[in-house]
């Protein structure tokens, strides 16, 4: 183990995190699309030459821990001796990506002739082609139906896009101008990060740089080990379910804590399905790192060292480790939520004083569009009741944290109006500490449109903990002149002017047994 003094360590940590933060700021400031600029669906990170992450500016948990796979894929294909000034692109879920919308640019940083680091950033591109606008067609069974696939390949040389990458990518997307704007922001963010690392390495010397970066990884490892060691040894098993038509698709995790080491085994999880709810292994890994942070010490600075004491085993070809060519778009946005729930359900047995009851466990994706416009939103819901107090109401939980669009803004720009947007009274699970409430959102359409819903916890309820009751499941209703009709959680329908869609999002589970006659 490399050791440096406590001052050098702290200064190095601050500087490396500042580099990652700067990259994230450049990315958001120079990006074109609201999805990156406002909703912050992007992340940036730096890595050592071996591909271990040194620091990350994460805005959205599902990127946590899934980015190293992109660097690893580039390393494996192109090695450490690449032409300086090259940036690589990848979105292939089966070779370093997660789902096609998330495109990652990876750049080596050389100081003199030595590889000193990698920088990488990931951004969600609103459309990368495929069989539906937004590149998440509900009917897809194969990944190539979901959009344009970019295997790890050189994309930039000396600040210029390479034709082999950029031409097919822009040809595939429905919004090439916006894509080019966002891609330029990604390129610039990596360049900014590389310049700052070059300066740091030059001032520290290559050997000094190696010493502090490996000390930083040891630091993350030590803190994570200490946090895991605080949990009681044992094997903790939990099963949760996705809704796929009328079928319940099981996800099972067995989390084993052995001293300072934690292992998660997904044996018993369902095989992949002929649909888009399959998650690739990088997504499952990301959920694992998320759940460990929530259940142990969330203040530990995230770096590759934190991942060393945490291991994962999955079976290839399952819902948590999909095999090509399965479709995966919803794996990132819905299945990830359930994998995290499953892991937290297991970890709650080891850390009952830290883990809340299940949150809403879905992102309640709503896509509305016709030939004139396309609109995408996700709706918050209830957080699970917590060991110390009630869960929060009307927020995003789990693997996402994107913001809403103001009603006054969207009514000014889209042909629909919002009739209600309020908390869904009584939807939180009962218990000593109530689950947070879901949201009731009703939309009236002013023109004909196609509406796609992608939601979970429509039949099954977010579970309670320690005797708490489950939260209410979500409901989707179509209200038209003839009456009201309950919609399935995942569907695509056509609506007419005057129709209304009412989405009731799930409440969080309750925590703790309600004392006789008392209410929290």
């Amino acid at each position: 183990m490399v050791s440096v003094d406590p001052v050098t360590l702290e200064v190095a940590r601050n500087r490396l995190e500042a580099v990652a933060d700067d990259m994230g700021v450049v990315l958001r400031r120079t990006a074109y699309s609201p999805n990156i600029k406002e909703r912050a669906d992007c992340s940036a990170a730096l890595f050592n030459p071996e591909g271990e992450m040194l620091a990350q500016a994460e805005h959205i948990p599902v990127h946590l821990g899934s980015m190293p796979a992109s660097v690893a894929a580039v390393l494996e294909l192109f090695g450490t001796d690449v032409e300086p000034g090259t940036q690589f692109a990848v979105n292939d879920p089966y070779e370093g990506g997660t789902h096609l919308n998330d495109l990652t640019l990876v750049r080596p940083v050389y100081v003199g002739s030595r590889l000193a680091a990698w920088v990488a950033n990931r951004a969600h591109h609103a459309d990368v082609g495929g069989e539906a606008p937004g590149s998440m067609p509900a009917h897809a069974t194969r990944v190539d139906q979901e959009g344009h696939i970019v295997p790890p390949m050189p994309a930039v040389r000396e600040g210029e896009w390479l034709e082999g990458f950029i031409e097919p990518f822009l040809a595939a997307t429905r919004t090439p101008a916006e894509r080019l704007g966002d891609l330029s922001a990604q390129m610039g963010a990596n360049e900014a990060g590389a310049r700052r690392i070059e300066r740091l390495v030059e001032s520290e010397g290559v050997e000094g740089w190696r010493r502090v970066t490996s000390a930083l990884l040891s630091y993350g490892e030590r803190r994570t080990e200490a946090a895991i060691a605080d949990l009681p040894d044992g094997s903790y098993r939990f099963t949760d379910y996705l809704e796929w038509g009328d079928d319940d698709v099981p996800i099972t995790a067995t989390v084993t804590i052995d001293g300072a080491h934690l292992h998660a085994d997904f044996a018993g999880s369902a095989s992949q399905v002929a649909g888009n709810i399959n998650a690739v292994e990088a997504v499952t890994r990301s959920c694992l790192y998320y759940a460990v942070r929530v259940a142990t010490d969330p203040t530990i600075p995230a770096n590759g060292g934190c991942y060393r004491p945490v291991t994962l085993s999955t079976e290839h070809g399952t819902i948590v480790d999909a095999a090509r060519p399965a479709a995966v778009a919803a794996g990132n946005v819905e299945t990830s939520q359930r994998i995290a729930d499953t892991l937290l359900g297991a970890l709650a047995q080891a850390a009952p004083d830290r883990v809340p009851a299940a949150g809403q466990g879905t992102m309640n994706n709503v896509l509305i569009g016709n030939d004139e416009f396309a609109y995408y939103e996700t709706v918050g819901g209830g957080q699970g009741g917590r060991p110390g107090r009630a869960g929060m109401s009307g927020i995003h939980t789990g693997m996402t944290n994107t913001k809403n669009t103001p009603i006054e803004s969207l009514e000014a720009h889209y042909p629909f109006r919002i009739v209600t947007y309020r908390l869904r009274s009584g939807s939180g699970g009962a218990g000593l500490h109530l689950g947070g409430e879901g949201i009731e959102r009703e939309i009236e359409f002013l023109t004909g449109a196609t509406v796609s819903l992608m939601g979970e916890r429509r039949r099954l309820q977010p579970w309670g903990l320690q005797g708490g009751e489950p939260g209410a499941s979500g409901e989707d209703w179509l209200i038209r002149a003839g009456g009201m009709e309950r919609l399935p959680g995942k569907c695509t329908i056509d609506v007419e002017a005057g129709d209304r869609l009412r989405v009731l999002t799930p409440g969080g589970g309750g925590w703790g047994t309600l004392a006789e006659g008392a209410r929290s």
Partner: protein
């Protein structure tokens, strides 16, 4: 005579100008702020023409949740907008971190007045959807509420902040209603006290935007004075920069528990149109101050991974750093500065408190046992770490905003600012450091340099110029009417159609859509690195600012007459390159043009400046030290 009184958490600072000379005073802040304000004012003045006031009353009422019981009236179906917010949670990984509790409980949020008894409430907020466009509904509601609740303070959103985005508007309106009774009561009491003491007939209050308004107007719009205190420091920093011919400066106010940083361009503090105060969204123009929880009282500690951390926990004013001898046992930034000799081992702070170096050594020695370093290395380490945190704060207000700090000067004030300024400025490659005179009462000085100011904004959502000039003219004349004789400046928040991120651009009626668009494209390129001149633009909000003249010109305040002897001595100071013999000067005795080469320490009553080896400080005509290297 003109008097500025700025109330901070620990001290109430006074700064007066009688046409010939400056007088300053510092008193402990009293629980009812008006007591120390009146005591201090009577101490240095009999009668003043202008009584200018910076106050933390609004901020404290919010932080301590002592505002009024408030009723919120909304459109049906949107009662919970203030609780849902933007749907995001405050911490990605820590489920225990809460959004702040809404200031209005769910039972007190209604859309149907027949379900509430307005007479039960001290304050009422009204915020209807789309009221920025059409305020009729809110006005009708106000009329009927005035009858039903004649004693309640009523805030309607189209008056408080007529801007679109329902959550931010509602949140600001609720803040305003919630704070009105407390703030109006305080300002009323103070004004009466000022009048009965014969000091002045009325008072003016500092707004977050760095301008002044009348006491009763401030009482009606307390959401606009949440940054009343720190704004004065930013204005003063801008002024000293202007006098010295430095247009680009970064203000760096390092106190005991926190540090405020803001950027000044062309002699004006950068303005933010929205900020969060203790987690509550407040859409009011305010000096774009970034605060980090690190200062002289920040505590050094070793985390479970063996890294030396400094802050965010602070020894504060009570018990304070170990060397204060008031029971503080843990090593702080101040203790490190004492141990290393930058602060005199027997310094007295404001004549009340004597430093005890032995206690600093004891606390550092305990920390050194945990770090495995020597006491000296530990003390130097604390400084290195805290300076890294400060550098991050400066990066946030400069590089992250697309502004290069390299040709800017750092204006350092507050008790600890001068101890760390040059190290910071050098690490960021900045041009130099300015240590202004009156640094201990700098925010109070800023009150005298601030203009009366009125800000008006109205969202319009325009996609062509059909009604642009009409809208701009309307907002401008509104601002002009509220500040007769003020100079009116107009601006527009513009974005590319379909984006949700605006850039605020100057615009004058008559210039036309194309001129506006070109200016927007240019500014967008400068800030964000690209422009799309062929894409349609959208004008979201029109702004007008009317400003009057400050009470005095900066050249008048920043003058320097040495008093007493600079009394040069020597002291051993430890630097990261080893111990040096530093010259020690009393600042009050330094004459204009005096040239000081580091290593040197310049001491004054409330603050200390450290000039490292290789650095050189010159006393300018303003009395400011200009340090370069």
């Amino acid at each position: 005579m003109i008097l500025g009184v700025d109330v901070g958490g620990t001290f109430t600072d006074l700064f007066s100008w009688d046409g010939r000379q400056v007088r300053t005073a510092k008193l402990p802040t009293t629980p009812d702020q008006s007591e120390a304000v009146l005591d201090g004012a009577s101490e240095i003045a009999d009668r003043v023409e202008s009584f200018l006031h910076g106050t933390t009353t609004a901020t404290n009422a919010l932080l301590e949740r002592t505002g009024a019981r408030t009723l919120l009236v909304t459109s049906p179906g949107f009662e919970d907008v203030i609780e849902i917010g933007r749907q995001d949670r405050p911490s990605l990984y820590d489920p225990e971190v809460d959004r702040p509790e809404p200031l209005v409980a769910r039972a007190d949020r209604v859309s149907d007045l027949s379900t509430a008894d307005p007479g039960e409430y001290e304050a009422i907020a009204v915020s209807l959807l789309h009221s920025y466009e059409d305020s009729t509904g809110e006005r009708i509601l106000r009329t009927s509420l005035e009858e039903a609740a004649p004693n309640a303070a009523i805030s309607i959103s189209s008056d408080v902040v007529a801007e679109f985005r329902e959550f931010e508007r509602t949140s600001t309106t609720v803040l305003n209603a919630y704070l009105t009774p407390v703030v109006a009561d305080y300002l009323g009491r103070l004004e009466a006290g000022v009048r009965s003491a014969g000091l002045a007939d009325s008072i003016s209050v500092m707004r977050s935007s760095g301008g002044l308004i009348g006491g009763s107007d401030a009482g009606r719009l307390p959401a606009s004075i949440l940054l009343s205190g720190p704004a004065g420091g930013a204005v003063a920093a801008a002024s000293i920069g202007t006098v010295l011919g430095r247009d680009r400066v970064i203000a760096f106010d390092m106190g005991g528990t926190s540090t405020d940083v803001s950027r000044i361009e062309d002699g004006r503090p950068e303005i933010a149109y929205e900020r969060s105060v203790d987690g509550y969204a407040c859409r009011m123009p305010s000096v774009a101050i970034h605060t980090v929880g690190a200062g002289g009282g920040s505590i050094g500690w070793v985390d479970p991974g063996g890294s030396l951390r400094v802050g965010p926990r602070s020894a504060g004013a009570e018990p304070g750093p170990a060397c204060y001898g008031r029971g503080g046992m843990t090593a702080t930034v101040t203790d490190a500065n004492v141990y290393l000799g930058r602060i005199a081992p027997d310094a007295s702070l404001g004549g009340r408190l004597r430093i005890d170096r032995g206690l600093a050594v004891a606390a550092l020695s305990e920390l050194a046992d945990t770090t495995g370093l020597t006491i000296e290395e530990t003390a130097l380490g604390i400084l290195r770490v805290v300076e890294e945190v400060m550098a991050g704060a400066i990066r946030t207000v400069s590089i992250e905003q697309g502004a290069d700090p390299r040709d800017a000067w750092l204006v350092a004030f507050g008790g600890a600012g001068g101890l760390h300024a040059t190290a910071l400025a050098r690490s960021l490659g900045m041009a130099g450091v300015i240590v202004p005179p009156h640094g201990g009462v700098f925010s109070a000085a800023g009150l005298l340099l601030s203009p009366p100011r009125v800000d008006v904004a109205r969202s319009v959502l325009l996609n062509d110029d059909a009604t642009l000039d009409e809208a701009v003219g309307g907002v401008a004349s509104d601002a002009g009417r509220r500040l007769p004789g003020g100079a009116v400046e107009t601006l527009a928040d513009v974005r590319y159609f379909g984006q949700s991120h605006e850039v605020t651009v100057p615009y004058l009626t008559g210039e036309g859509w194309e001129a506006l668009a070109n200016r927007f494209h240019d500014l967008h390129r400068e800030r964000n690195g690209f422009a799309r001149p062929d894409d349609p633009i959208e004008v979201v909000t029109i702004r007008a600012t009317a400003t009057g003249s400050p009470a005095i010109e900066p050249e008048t305040v920043f003058t320097w007459t040495p008093s007493g002897d600079a009394d040069p001595g020597h002291r051993r100071v430890v630097t990261s390159d080893g111990p040096v013999e530093a010259r020690v000067w009393f600042r009050d005795g330094l004459g204009i043009g005096e040239d000081i080469n580091g290593p040197a320490v310049v001491e004054e009553r409330e603050a200390t400046t450290w000039i490292a080896p290789g650095e050189r400080a010159v006393v300018s005509e303003t009395g400011a030290l200009e340090v370069t290297w």
